[in-house]
Structures are given as C-alpha cells and as structure tokens.
Symmetry: D2
C-alpha cells in the first residue's frame, strides 16, 4: 500500500518521428505525455518509466516486466513489428498478475488480441468528430472524479461493433458527433491480471493532454494493480484427496499427456 506503483508506459514512437502534425502535438513522444498525465494525477503514488518499440526487446525485457506493476500500451502503425516473443512475455506477466492498461489503437495490438481471443476490430473514421464519454458505472473506482460526460472536442471515431468479449465491467460508453457509439471504458480479468481498455486517445489529436482523459488513465493504473502478494502463473496441479493446499505438477511428467502448452505459446515456459 505504501509502496509506489511501478508503471511502465510503452509507446510505439513512430508517428512522432515521421508525421509533422503528430510531432507538433507530442514533441517528446506520446509515451512522455501519457507518463506526464499519470504523474500529474498519482504524484508520489507512482514511479514511472517508459519503453518504446525500437529499443532492444522493445524495452520490455524480463527484468523490466518483473519490476512493473502496471504496463500501459499504445501502438498503431507497427503492431506487426512487435516480436512474438515479447508478446508472449507480456502475456505471461499479465496472467501472473501484472496490470495492463490498453489505450486507443492498442485495441489492435497483438497482446490485446491474444488476451481477448477475438479480432478486436471495430468501425472507425478520423474526421474531427466530437467524442462524449459517458459513465455508466458511477461507483467504479476508475470513474472517480471524472465529469459526466467527458467532452473531447475533436477525435477519431471508434464505433460498434467492437469485437471483444463482453467486458467484466462496462465503465464508459462514448458517442461521436456522427452518431456512432462505442464501449470506450472496459475492464477484464485474465489469469491473475487486471486489464483496463480505454479508447480515447490518438496520434492526430491532442487527447492525451486532456485533463479528464489523463485522470481516467491514472485511475485505470491504480485499479489494475494486483492484490496478489507476488506474481504467479496459473498452473495445472494435481491435489490428493483432503489435501487442498499443496498440489503437484504432473503435466510435464505424465507419459500420456502432451499439453497444448508444450508446443504452443500459450503454455508455461520452462
């Protein structure tokens, strides 16, 4: 409780180096702006580092993830360049208890698709729509202190059908001036990890400078911290009758079981 939350803000950091308009809005990179917004809201309650696609291992080494309580994810034009090994590593950490906050176009990232099991597709349009973000779950901690609605003057439109599993909790629903709606704030629990998806945010609009958007992201970071004392990957174990607390891992030894996990990326790594 008294330890600050260790946050890693991950950014693709490509548009900012290539597109003049984006560089003007986010001169130090979107990840820096997102990190500033979290810092602004959480102060001493968080320590924040950033990582980007073009660092070795995208800046997401085993060491970095082991020291990360909550990872935030923004990517857009280069989802396909994220290495499958790193995706596997992030996935394992989330299922073991690392929090994950997925932002905007991160909906189409490999890690979000892998955690959701669906395509995570949607309808879109980038034509300066006004987005209004309405709270439908006012007692949720992520909605704490958020105006109803949040008013974002110009935004990319994201509309339904959004191909995700029904969220565990629906917190925000957005409308756009073109008439579309979107489930813009959703929580999911996967394994021992808590996941928050929040759709406002784009490289072409100054959304990550919006104080309410920053507040929501900071709330999402706080909410997604695990209550488990340590990271633990869910494991298949055999328990004797009357023995509830100490299980045995026979899955590797058993001569007649080849678990899916032994040949696919979904399983336990050695």
């Amino acid at each position: 409780m008294t330890q600050p939350i260790r946050v890693t803000v991950w950014g693709e950091y490509r548009h900012e180096l290539r597109d003049e308009n984006v560089a003007r809005i986010y001169p130090d990179g979107m990840h820096t702006t997102i990190a500033d917004g979290i810092r602004e809201n959480l102060g001493d309650r968080a320590t924040i580092r950033t990582a980007t696609l073009d660092e070795p291992e995208h800046g997401l080494t085993e060491e970095v993830l082991a020291e990360t309580d909550v990872l935030t994810w923004w990517g857009h034009m280069a989802h396909g360049e994220v290495s499958d090994d790193v995706v596997e590593r992030v996935h394992r950490h989330v299922l073991s208890g690392m929090g994950l906050v997925v932002l905007h176009s991160g909906h189409w990232s490999k890690i979000f698709q892998k955690l959701m099991g669906t395509t995570c597709t949607l309808r879109w349009r980038s034509e300066q729509d006004r987005e209004l973000v309405w709270t439908v779950n006012p007692t949720h901690p992520i909605a704490r202190g958020i105006p109803h609605p949040i008013d974002i003057p110009a935004q990319e439109m994201y509309g339904e059908f959004f191909d995700i599993p029904a969220p565990d909790e629906l917190v925000f629903v957005s409308s756009f001036s073109g008439g579309e709606v979107f489930r813009s704030g959703c929580t999911f629990r996967r394994g021992h990890g808590k996941i928050f998806f929040f759709s406002p945010g784009d490289q072409d609009y100054p959304v990550y400078h919006h104080p309410d958007v920053r507040r929501v992201i900071a709330n999402g970071v706080e909410w997604s911290v695990s209550d488990l004392p340590e990271r633990a990957y869910p494991t298949l174990l055999r328990y004797d009758t009357d023995e509830f607390f100490h299980g045995v891992d026979y899955s590797q030894a058993a001569p007649d079981i080849t678990p899916a996990s032994m040949t696919t990326t979904a399983g336990v790594t050695a």
Copy 2:
C-alpha cells in the same frame, strides 16, 4: 429453423486405441458415444458427423468447417499434436459464427486457450470422486429438462481456481466428494460465435453414457447455433460520416498501418 443443425463431433481418439479400460467403456470411440448422445436428444433436429485427430487435417478441413453449425471438442493426451493451422482455421470459423462445445479435458486444448486468452488450468484428481452438478441459472436454455443436481457416481475431480475469463453466463457449478467445487457449465460469446464449456466427461469413467450429461451436451449444441444468416469474420472498416452500412477496408492498403493481423494468426486471411 427447419433446417437440422449440422454437428461435427471431434474426438482425439487415442486413449480408446491404447488403454484397455477406455476401450471397454467406449468401444467405438468417445466421439461415437458423444454423437449418439446428441442424436438421442435432438433426433431429426441434427445431422451429425465425426472427425478425429489422425485423419488428414484432423478431419477439420475448410470444407467440413464451412458445413458445420456446431463443433464439439474432446481432447486430452495429444493437445500438442493438433496443428496450429487447424487451430487457426477453427478459431476463424468460431469468430465468424460457428458454435463450439468444449468438453472436459478440452479445457486445455489449443483452441480453447486461444479463444479464452488464459491458461485454462485448474486443479484435478482422478480418484473416483462423486460429482454433483448443480444448476445456478435455471432459466438458461442449456438447463432445460436437467435434474438438479445431476448425480455422477464416479468422476475425475476438476477444481477451482479454473483460469478462465468470467463466463458470460454461469449455468452449472459442481461439487466433488473430496470437497472441491468447479464452474462446470459456462457460456462465452467470442466474435460471432457462441461457446459452451461443460466439464463432466472423462475417458476413464462412463460419463458420456449418462443420460443427463448427454442431454446437457445436446442442449449446448442447440444453444450454440448462431442466429446470423451467414458466417462473417469481424473486420476493421472505415465508415464515412452519415454512412452507417457500407464500410471500406483500408487496413491492408493504408501505408502507415501494419496491423497485428498481417503478421500473426489472429488476423483476416486473404
């Protein structure tokens, strides 16, 4: 409505050929017994075929899946031998609208893990526990005509924590004589597909001869039929302002987007 449901019952079909005990319980293969149970309950409302691991493409070619309204899945000792290409194909069909009924040890199959996004691990023990299956959602169609509880005299124990996403609907919860509990009947919607997981059933016990278990599986088959008129994979499309019905697929063409789907199996295939 008047067309019969086209069901494909998939079975691993290895234990039956190798283990005397299993061969005695399921002399024609577990898939045959499962198919019989569906036929017994649905009669003319279903046409049923079977497919097994050692057939070419595991019997699950594009043609077979295209003609399958609901696929049932039982596997155990050879999850790892199921080809990733076939898993990909089944995943695409489920997201496009094919129903999927996952049985017992199928919890650890590649396809279930891929759809859930989690490890799908649990606790287990095969020591002749008695399993009682209680209905917690009595208005659910899958519970229609099912005694409360179902009494299974001898069974493998599957216990919590079962690492799955919170189900959309929890229909059954089981207890075991050793004291464990398990969320044994769960529904999920993914993409345009409906998924039912039902845990009773094992190669070492005659569970698929149990009339109530057969009835649940048949109910699950009926429930998981899609209401969509045709199979459709969810796709990312751009919609102009005031144009709600005709979207355009820019994802392949856009010079500045490399979607995750272009390099991973989660995406749209050409």
Copy 3:
C-alpha cells in the same frame, strides 16, 4: 415448442384518450399498435391479447396472468395509479417464470422498479432527437435480423446514467443527436423469469410503427419465454443430508423464524 406463445400486451391507454397528437399517431391505442407489431413478426407463433389500466384489476387478474407466457408493459403518466396488489401479482408471476418485456417509459413503472431494486431513473428530453440503436451483442437472439443501426428519425432522448443493475446482457446501445448515449436493450433474469427492457418507443412519436422496433419487440417476446415446464415460485426449503430432490418448507412453521415474507409483499403467498 409447437404451442403458440400467449402474449398479453399491457398499455396504460390514457394519453391516447386525452392528447390529440397521440390519438392521431395511435388511433386504436398504443397497445393495439404494439400488439400488431408482434403479430406481424410472430404470426402463428403467438396469440395476443391486450389489457389496460382502466379495466378491472387493470386487466391483469390471476387468471389472465396464469395464461400469459409473456407480458409486455407500457406506462407513462399514471404509474402511480397501478395498484400495489396487481404489481405484487405480476412480480410473483415473473419470479415464477412469466416473461416480461418492459418498453420505454415503463422504466419508471412500479413493477420494473420492484424487479430491479433501483430507482430506474435516467436523463431525458423530448425534442425530436434522432436515435440510432446499435447492436453490441450480435449473436443474441434478440438482435436477429435487426439492422445495425436502427435509425429512428425523431425520438425522446433517454440518457445515462440509467440507474439499473448491470444487465445480464447488454444487447443495444443508443445514441441521440444531442450526443447522449443509453443502454437501450438489456436483459435480466429474476427468479425463474426472463426480462427484456427496450427503450425506443414513446407516445409522442410513431416509434411503434417502425418495422425494426417491432421486430426487436417480437424477438424480445420470443426470447423471454421460459424454458421451465410450469410456473414455480422460488421457495426456501430444508433438505436432509443425501436428499437432494425433496425439500420441506419449514419457514411458516418454525417457531423462531419470522421471514420477511410474512409481513411484506416479497414473500411466498399461502
């Protein structure tokens, strides 16, 4: 399955007799138009009667409810005139397995409040907003055959926060031209009864003549039919050890228990 669904369409039937504008849109009463819409879609699959506030017992006698598979409810200006006894009776029938489809301003009816346990309040405005109804659960039977979105040219605005429990299933979300959003299609299970709330529809706009709205209501009627073989009110029963199927009702006899139900309307009637 082959028996037609017995539907009772309940209408307040006051605006139509008092307000010229409403009488022009619904010359035979809104209940008649709603009934026509169900008939148009279900044909022989339903037999439909209507009942209105000013009939004796509001037309909802014990006999009528006992012969009703699904009740639809529209009220607005006279919620307070609905007798508590009739509300109690409808509540008991819903918990015993009668389906209920609550329409538009029925959100503020006594019966809906009683089933939800909340205020069921919302924000509103009647200024000719355009309402677009988007499907967020495309595999739900209530969404079958419904365009995405439904386009309603002029409507009363209903906006969030809508004070209801989180729905079991969220099927539709609406936007309004003023920018508000609303969870406009929601399902709930209560006791042995299935409930569908659908918000489009108003006395001042011809919404119940809209073919897509009529289709949704008809789908909702079909969905909310119980799968239970007969109506049964959930009851508190004692079960001996090893006796799972025959319980005993000690609640009335026990000298040391005064159940809430003995003095309130929520309990078992003799």
Copy 4:
C-alpha cells in the same frame, strides 16, 4: 482516503438473549463479535458502532445512516419485525452511496430482497456440515489474503438454487460435506451503492470467530466504500440540448406524470 471508514454493524440480537447455545458462543451478541473481527483487521482504518433491532428505529436513524459509510446486516428470526420505514431509509441510503455488507441469514431480510428484486430463497440444513469456501476471482480485493479454501469445520448448509440476480462479480463458491454448492461471496452495484453478500456465519456455530471469515468481512467493508464524494440519490432529470451538466426535475411538477415514486416507497422522498 485518510479518513477512517465509518462502519455500523447491525445485529438482530434476539437469539443471543434467548438461546443458551448462541449465548455461549456469542456472549456479547453476534454484532459485537462481528465488530471485533472488523476492528481486528482494519484497525485505525475504521471506526465502528453497532445497532440492534430493539433500539428505537432499530438504531438506524437518519442521523446514524448519514454518518455510516458501510452498514453490515445480520438478521434471522425477526426479519418481519424490521419496520418498513427503516427498510425504506436504508434502501435510499444504499442507492445514494452507502455500502452494505449482508451476512448469512440476512439473505432473507427485507432490505436484501428489496435491493435484489427476487425472493432470495435457497436450500438449507443445519447439521454440522463442513463448509469449504473457494475463491473463483483471485484478483478481487475481497479475496486479498484469504486462504484457498477457507475451511469451516461445522456450518449450516446453504445450497443452490439461490434466487438472486446474477451477481456482478462472483468471488467465492462454497461446498458442503453433504455435496451442495453455494455462491457464497457475491458483489452487486445498485444505484450509487456497493453491496457484498457473504454467506458463512450463523448463530449456532462460532463462524464469526473464524479468522478467515473475519478477514473476508473486513475486506468486504473496505471494498464497499463509495468513491463518490457525497451521498446522492439517483434522480430523473430533464436536460436541454447541449446542456449536459445541469438537469431540471420536472417529475413532481409535470401535470401529466404521476411517477411510481409518488405513491410507492421506491421513489424520491421530499
């Protein structure tokens, strides 16, 4: 955050004065033991008072409730004696943001029935069953620090079907030595209030002395504290176009609307 949680522990306090066995287990009343358990776990993070049935207004005056962040409720033999006015008052405070933790036989209290909208009935037997409480949602704050399972050597059996709405979050599922199962830890959000139901606990067994049970109740108290800055009853308001933040209450003034709330207890009190 730094303010301690103001908890009111409500107890029926009748069995303890009448039944020798209960008096022996809970010599100072069950409410005192429950309060001790919360104090033991939350320490300075909570200030705790108690209230009982036979105090004026059951100890739950407007003043007490206004100063209560979380109310815990245990009742059994005298549910029917709780005044409807007090139930109404508690209901209003819960919908306005007061947390509520309902314990064991409180499942059949008027306040829980009113909030759920259902009968809240179940199956039961008091024959020294062993209860095992399993965590099915390990990332939920209420499960923090709780062993998996909690082992309660002797308990009253509560079994399914438990007639409640599907919980927002299912945290615990119990088994009993007789083979029954029960959804023993459930959360619900109603209005602006958070509700936690936890079934272990009985007058005839020393369950409220069990350290793990005490920990769960304390966790539940912490979880159910509202994040809203002040208590606010959800209200029906009209909003002009382009006016999102200031609504007007026309419900009392409008000549053509008699809201349900004007004649029933569910509505806004003046």
